[in-house]
């Protein structure tokens, strides 16, 4: 037993070293393992008891969309420390871009894979156009601007019905062309979508990790920690933040293209604020700044949302508890639709995580070490003592010997 544990520890440390030095290879290997698991798990108990293999693949492919969204938002919120509340808007822009390029509505039928990049690029254009004027201001303004943008984009799609078919949305979007080896994208199975999604997530993760480990990633983290100090160390904060924001928008647009092709319909109600909020909650739950954690968090949260809550409904119906009747309060477990509560649960989860476990459910090793070391030091934590103070005059002057007089 002891020997086994020692071996396990050795294996762990060796694999960590490997992962440090061969990030991309590690990601590819891990995603391959994940892909194999995703393909075979739905066929074995207990998962096959819940639903058939194809609904599982469908759920996995949809979860992949949210994994992609969460990884993109993680760059903005987790790495660069900017709050983007209109993330669904870029998702919508990507989706509508694809809808225009591949539907009877426009009469175009452009290839899917290049369109992934085009949709991402269009979203990036909007991201830059929105971010450039806002990011030179303090961070709060970005939150409110993006919140407004996220609200406006669906409204514009609803209101300009000659071009977007208003609330009905654009339907009948063509599916992607057949893949080599995997064949057609049939409406009956989502297997191909899942495969494509795994591929996209793998590539995205590889690229994001490369940025994370580079000069740019360090600059993002520096801005998140202390924007003024980052500027005083030669980082062009506006440009660096803009890059993070645009990258987030790009990822969101890419996810939008994929989602449009999978649903074969886009309509404004798919892109409400609750989508942005869900993705934000996924990032927080997974652990801001931790790419793996966020991806895993998004995957799990999505499965809870679409599989577990539905299961709870059927369980609640089958156990048949007597209804609780206390005058005005009527509580009947069998009648409760748990999916109605999902956003409330997300809200509570997000707030609880922020208050009690800001490092997320899956903190990276380094981050956990930091937080534990911080506990020993207690009040000496300069992150808590020194306020961020982005505005000149708020901190620099009041900070020390020059204060007040």
């Amino acid at each position: 037993m002891k020997q086994l544990r020692a071996r396990w520890t050795a294996f762990r440390s060796r694999s960590h070293t490997f992962a440090e030095h061969h990030r991309s290879a590690t990601i590819v290997i891990t995603m391959l393992i994940a892909a194999i698991l995703l393909i075979f798990l739905p066929r074995i108990p207990p998962l096959n008891a819940i639903q058939g293999a194809n609904p599982w693949y469908d759920a996995f492919a949809n979860a992949g969309v949210f994994v992609l969204l969460a990884m993109g938002l993680n760059v903005v919120v987790g790495l660069a420390g900017l709050l983007d509340l209109g993330y669904a808007a870029f998702f919508a822009i990507g989706a509508y871009t694809y809808a225009y390029s591949n539907s009877p509505f426009s009469g175009l039928d452009l290839p899917f894979f290049p369109m992934l990049l085009v949709g991402a690029a269009v979203a990036a254009v909007f991201g830059i156009a929105l971010g450039a004027p806002t990011l030179r201001l303090r961070g709060d303004y970005l939150a409110i601007m993006t919140l407004g943008f996220g609200e406006i984009v669906p409204i514009v799609f609803v209101n300009s019905d000659p071009y977007t078919r208003g609330t009905n949305g654009i339907g009948g979007i063509y599916r992607p062309e057949a893949l080599p080896f995997f064949g057609e994208f049939s409406p009956l199975t989502s297997f191909n979508y899942m495969v494509v999604m795994i591929f996209i997530v793998t590539v995205a993760m590889m690229l994001l990790y490369r940025l994370h480990d580079s000069r740019i990633g360090r600059a993002w983290m520096a801005i998140r920690e202390d924007e003024l100090a980052a500027a005083a160390n030669g980082i062009n904060t506006v440009l660096t933040k803009l890059l993070a924001f645009a990258l987030g928008a790009t990822t969101s647009g890419l996810a939008g293209v994929f989602n449009a092709s999978k649903l074969t319909i886009v309509s404004p109600d798919q892109f409400s604020f609750s989508v942005s909020f869900t993705v934000l909650a996924m990032v927080i739950v997974g652990g801001m700044g931790n790419i793996w954690g966020v991806a895993a968090g998004a995957f799990i949260v999505y499965l809870i949302q679409v599989v577990l809550l539905k299961q709870l409904n059927t369980i609640a119906e089958t156990i048949n508890l007597p209804a609780l009747d206390l005058g005005p309060i009527h509580f009947d477990l069998a009648k409760i639709n748990f999916t109605d509560y999902q956003y409330l649960l997300f809200g509570i989860a997000l707030v609880l995580m922020m208050l009690k476990r800001p490092e997320g459910l899956f903190p990276s090793q380094a981050r956990r070490a930091e937080l534990h070391a911080a506990e020993d030091l207690g009040a000496n934590d300069p992150a808590l003592v020194g306020a961020l103070g982005e505005a000149p005059g708020s901190d620099e002057l009041t900070g020390g010997s020059e204060g007040g007089s």
Partner: protein
């Protein structure tokens, strides 16, 4: 000896408060210059003006002979300047569209949008080259902190501002940011240039950590370092940008005499070994008098004395500012 920095008639007001008033200041190359004065004298404000954090209300600062910081002039003209290229393209596109060639019109629209985005990004991120270019049109806007770093200025903060949750190594690597050439595209593709630069920059960062006495502590998260080490790490981070002029804001504050002595030696070595020019704000007179070539004294935002340490020490105005009455 040429001057690294030349400040003329710098004034800074915050609302009704005059923090710095009409200060002239020069830093000759290769010297160690100290800025002293009682609490609230405006030292840190002056520092922040040099570092590009505040715009001065009046006056200007030349850095290596180039005017970098002054009150903004004709800033309202700037948006028109960067809106010009997309506007021209828009007109061309409109002209094309009358011909009815849809492909060309589409291309025109795409190029107009891309140019507009490019203009916007340049306009808000204001790289140094852009700032120099707009000066030809009589538009002047002060360099920002990051531009000053690119121009060759490094600084530390009075109340330490490390990136608390990053390792010491990463802190120094961030300091190196402006000297690294790899772009985000290099990083995405993991080009050989990117990998090479990452390797050499880590070697250099280790050298810097060794120089300030933090050898082997690179993996420690900054906030877990002891106080004195945090001060030293901040100096290493400032040095990482290969500055010509190093601004140190009370580097020995809160240190014990032993640490202070070590740090004083380090500052001396920075000049002798790296050829740096140093501007120092300091309260510890032993440090100031020991290593400074020139000392400038500020009181209530005004320069009341300037000279060698000995001259300043004997200046009655300085003694009055510090003690209120002449010494017994």
């Amino acid at each position: 000896m040429t001057d690294v920095l030349n400040a003329t008639k710098i004034t800074k007001r915050f609302g009704g408060l005059v923090a710095v008033h009409d200060v002239d200041f020069t830093i000759p190359e290769g010297s160690i210059v100290s800025l002293i004065g009682p609490n609230g004298a405006g030292k840190t404000t002056f520092f922040n003006i040099i570092a590009g954090i505040y715009d001065p209300t009046a006056g200007s600062i030349d850095f290596h002979g180039e005017n970098m910081i002054a009150r903004a002039r004709r800033a309202w003209l700037e948006p028109f300047l960067w809106l010009t290229p997309p506007a021209i393209l828009l007109l061309i596109t409109l002209a094309i569209s009358t011909s009815g060639n849809q492909v060309l019109t589409g291309l025109g629209i795409v190029f107009t949008i891309l140019t507009l985005l490019g203009s916007m990004v340049t306009g808000v991120s204001r790289p140094l080259a852009y700032q120099r270019a707009i000066r030809r049109f009589g538009i002047f806007r002060s360099a920002r902190p990051n531009d000053m770093v690119v121009a060759g200025l490094g600084r530390t903060f009075q109340n330490i501002r490390l990136f608390a949750n990053m390792t010491a190594m990463d802190n120094v690597l961030v300091g190196m940011h402006s000297r690294l050439k790899t772009t985000w595209i290099d990083a995405l593709l993991s080009t050989p240039r990117d990998r090479r630069e990452e390797k050499t920059s880590r070697v250099r960062a280790n050298e810097l950590l060794t120089l300030v006495g933090l050898k082997g502590r690179g993996d420690v998260v900054a906030k877990n370092l002891p106080y004195g080490d945090q001060r030293r790490l901040e100096i290493a981070r400032a040095l990482a940008s290969d500055p010509k002029l190093l601004l140190l804001d009370e580097p020995t504050a809160g240190m014990n005499p032993n640490e202070t002595a070590n740090l004083t030696r380090l500052i001396g070595r920075l000049r002798s070994e790296l050829g740096l020019t140093v501007l120092l704000i300091e309260h510890d007179m032993r440090v100031v008098m020991g290593i400074s070539d020139r000392v400038t004294v500020l009181d209530h935002g005004e320069r009341i004395a300037e000279g060698t340490p000995d001259e300043v020490r004997r200046d009655p105005k300085v003694i009055e500012a510090y003690l209120g009455t002449p010494p017994a």
